[in-house]
């Protein structure tokens, strides 16, 4: 029974990673850049909901929509100001800029909200699911997170494959120059990608803080990094891969905490990143793209 409980806790953690990883992978898959600030956009999303729900007493659902709007604007602004001017620059310059943006967001949050830990109010108010006469409790926020992750995963896949903008995204990711020649607005498409990725971050932020109700300016950074590992694990750029990678990572983290050492779980998680990159550099579901010479 305790194994099942650990497994469920792992899925609970993993579903949050999956949700964050979807945003990571979305931006990487289309814009071919690692948006390290993604974790911090999540944190901002969490603060927006904290302020609107706990401070202004707003309805949680309305707060989530406001938070998504704020994060979308934030994501598009970051893309416009920090990343677009570097479109032709080396990937390393973009990567460093992303880390810079990440620190900028953390420090802005420190200035605005202070470094005190805020206890976040769970926005998922449904009762927990109790099985086997209360021996096994599945938190409602876990169920919601898993369902939301699946919906987003399916929705994104359909969006990319079926819609015009989605197909434009695929084209941009394969060859920016050729896409432009075919009449696709490359900058616009990438901006839309960031908008979607950032609004997903807002949802992830709310569910992350509901599951683990502590909010500090650093809340997003560790889950962000782990979600990145999850995205690489599942095959970065692959939308279902991010979901599977996230869930697996959460389960591995929790089981290693339970059965190996609660102190070494982070070390184990990051060892997995290294091993995956060594053995299967494209990740579980990553596509092997032939480079034409």
């Amino acid at each position: 029974m305790s194994f099942v409980a650990h497994l469920i806790n792992g899925v609970s953690l993993g579903s949050v990673y999956a949700l964050i990883a979807l945003g990571y992978t979305m931006v990487y898959g289309i814009a071919k850049m690692l948006n390290f600030a993604h974790g911090d956009v999540i944190m901002i999303g969490g603060y927006v909901v904290f302020v609107t729900v706990s401070g202004m007493g707003m309805n949680p659902l309305a707060a989530i929509i406001i938070s998504m709007a704020v994060c979308t604007v934030l994501g598009v602004t970051i893309e416009r100001v920090a990343y677009r001017p570097l479109r032709g620059a080396s990937p390393l310059a973009v990567l460093i800029t992303a880390i810079g943006v990440s620190y900028l967001l953390q420090n802005i949050a420190l200035l605005v909200f202070g470094s005190d830990t805020k206890a976040f109010t769970n926005v998922v108010t449904m009762p927990n699911l109790e099985l086997f006469e209360g021996q096994l409790i599945i938190k409602s926020v876990t169920i919601v997170t898993v369902i939301v992750s699946i919906i987003i995963m399916v929705g994104l896949t359909l969006f990319v494959k079926r819609t015009k903008i989605g197909r434009a995204m695929t084209a941009v990711s394969e060859d920016k120059g050729a896409a432009q020649l075919m009449g696709i607005n490359v900058n616009g498409t990438i901006a839309v990608t960031f908008a979607i990725g950032s609004s997903l971050a807002a949802i992830a932020g709310v569910l992350l803080c509901s599951a683990y109700p502590s909010l500090t300016p650093y809340t997003g950074s560790m889950p962000g990094i782990k979600a990145f590992v999850a995205a690489v694990f599942g095959g970065i750029g692959s939308i279902p891969g991010a979901f599977i990678g996230g869930i697996l990572l959460g389960v591995i983290e929790n089981l290693s905490k339970a059965y190996i050492s609660s102190q070494l779980s982070d070390a184990i998680v990051f060892s997995i990143l290294i091993i995956v990159l060594l053995v299967k550099p494209t990740g579980l579901l990553g596509r092997k793209i032939q480079e034409k010479v």
């Binding site: 650990h6 953690l13 390290f36 420190l110 206890a119 502590s214 560790m222 590992v229 970065i236 982070d266």
Partner: protein, 428 residues
């Protein structure tokens, strides 16, 4: 191209991991302005020498008299520097200590000071960050500090202790409980040491038969928490209960406690011992309640402050027990008058950190009077004289009656246990 991208990804991940490691560990904030604010607040005492007779209530007027600093009374001024977290993850401790110390300083100045010297307290923010506490110490040195009342937290105390030992400045930490806080001959403390707290907690649980099966959740990356845990585990062997589960966590992994709680639940623990700080404890209480784990919680002084976490559902803390040297509802005259003054001035019930801060100032006073300290003595002379005097004094404070010290810097006093009942700390 692909290889290039991959190495980039790896390099990026590693850099980011490194950086986040630092970030989350520090809990740092740009709080220069806050520290300044605190300093101004504490400077209210500077004008005390002229208004001493009018009593402590007049300190508001003194705010306008910041520039009277240089004046000094007949006996000059004794500059006490406080260091503690006024912002950040442990701000509750620092603010309480500062407020408690301030009350003591105001009282002493109102009663004529120490050996005719007016006491001046300058309290600096360290955000519970060892590096920043050294910066705060340097600021105090520039200010001309003569005695250090700090730091509030263990890791910061240790960092500053190295500096005070080099500079020969007497240091009394109100609440730095790790063993190494008082490793140097010039450093003493008011609170219990970690080993002391660990052993006393185990004895308390055993003697009062609070539980037969105990689980422990502690922070293995923190000297305070792991120090208590080790002694607790050692002492548990002599007691009537057994430790059935031990779950550690680290500074980078302190949001999800489901595994540790699940292990405790599976092991059938009827009490969970939490030798940790209140922020994580608040999360643990929330998660335990959401997984339907109904159990007693027992902690040390680090849990003090849990009721102050913003937006925390205080009903979850109902029944939590903690070992602390101070209970605000005690009926002795000293406690009653302290609690009343604190309530009037700061609008809340003082926790034990406030009491530690208060006692620290009175301890400095007792030692300074014993050693006949005067304001014109060099820091080194003050330090040597106070060091000797500390072992000769007996202080009746808020955190214990008849507290004495030995040369190692450890106080001797009895612990008290309190339980959170109807949202307030109540003596057990």
């Amino acid at each position: 191209m692909k290889k290039k991208m991959l190495s980039l990804v790896l390099a990026g991940a590693m850099t980011a991991v490194l950086m986040t490691g630092c970030g989350s560990g520090n809990g740092s904030a740009d709080s220069g302005s806050t520290a300044d604010g605190a300093a101004t607040e504490t400077e209210t005492t500077e004008a005390g020498e002229t208004e001493a007779a009018d009593g402590a209530a007049d300190t508001e007027n003194a705010e306008s008299a910041d520039d009277a600093q240089a004046a000094g009374g007949e006996g000059g001024t004794l500059k006490i520097g406080g260091i503690g977290p006024l912002t950040g993850s442990a701000a509750v401790y620092g603010i309480a200590t500062m407020n408690g110390s301030q009350i003591a300083v105001d009282e002493i100045n109102a009663a004529g000071g120490i050996n005719g010297m007016t006491v001046e307290l300058n309290f600096q923010d360290d955000e519970c960050d060892a590096e920043k506490s050294v910066n705060a110490y340097n600021t105090l040195k520039d200010w001309g500090v003569q005695v250090i009342d700090g730091c509030v937290t263990s890791a910061c105390s240790i960092a500053v202790a190295d500096k005070t030992a080099q500079d020969n400045i007497f240091q009394l930490t109100p609440s730095g409980s790790a063993v190494d806080c008082v490793a140097n001959p010039n450093s003493f403390r008011v609170c219990f040491s970690d080993p002391n707290q660990g052993a006393a907690s185990a004895q308390y649980i055993g003697e009062h038969s609070l539980a037969t099966k105990v689980a422990v959740i502690y922070d293995s990356s923190d000297v305070y928490s792991s120090g208590i845990y080790e002694k607790f585990a050692g002492e548990a062997a002599n007691q009537s209960f057994e430790i059935v589960a031990t779950g550690a966590f680290t500074a980078d992994n302190k949001t999800d406690f489901s595994v540790q709680l699940q292990q405790a639940k599976d092991a059938g623990a009827d009490l969970v011992f939490l030798p940790i700080y209140y922020n994580e404890a608040a999360l643990i209480l929330t998660q335990a309640s959401s997984m339907g784990f109904d159990v007693k919680f027992f902690g040390c002084d680090g849990l003090d402050g849990i009721l102050g976490v913003e937006n925390f559902d205080a009903t979850l803390a109902e029944g939590v027990m903690l070992l602390t040297p101070f209970a605000a509802d005690a009926t002795d005259d000293l406690t009653v008058s302290f609690v009343t003054t604190y309530n009037e001035k700061f609008g809340e019930t003082p926790n034990q950190f406030a009491a530690d801060g208060y006692d620290a100032i009175y301890t400095i006073k007792a030692a300074a009077e014993k050693a006949n300290i005067t304001a014109d003595m060099s820091n080194e002379d003050i330090c040597n004289a106070l060091q000797t005097a500390m072992t000769e004094i007996t202080v009746d404070g808020l955190t214990g009656a008849g507290i004495t010290w030995d040369a190692s810097g450890e106080p001797t006093k009895d612990p008290k246990a309190v339980v959170i009942k109807d949202g307030v700390y109540t003596a057990m």
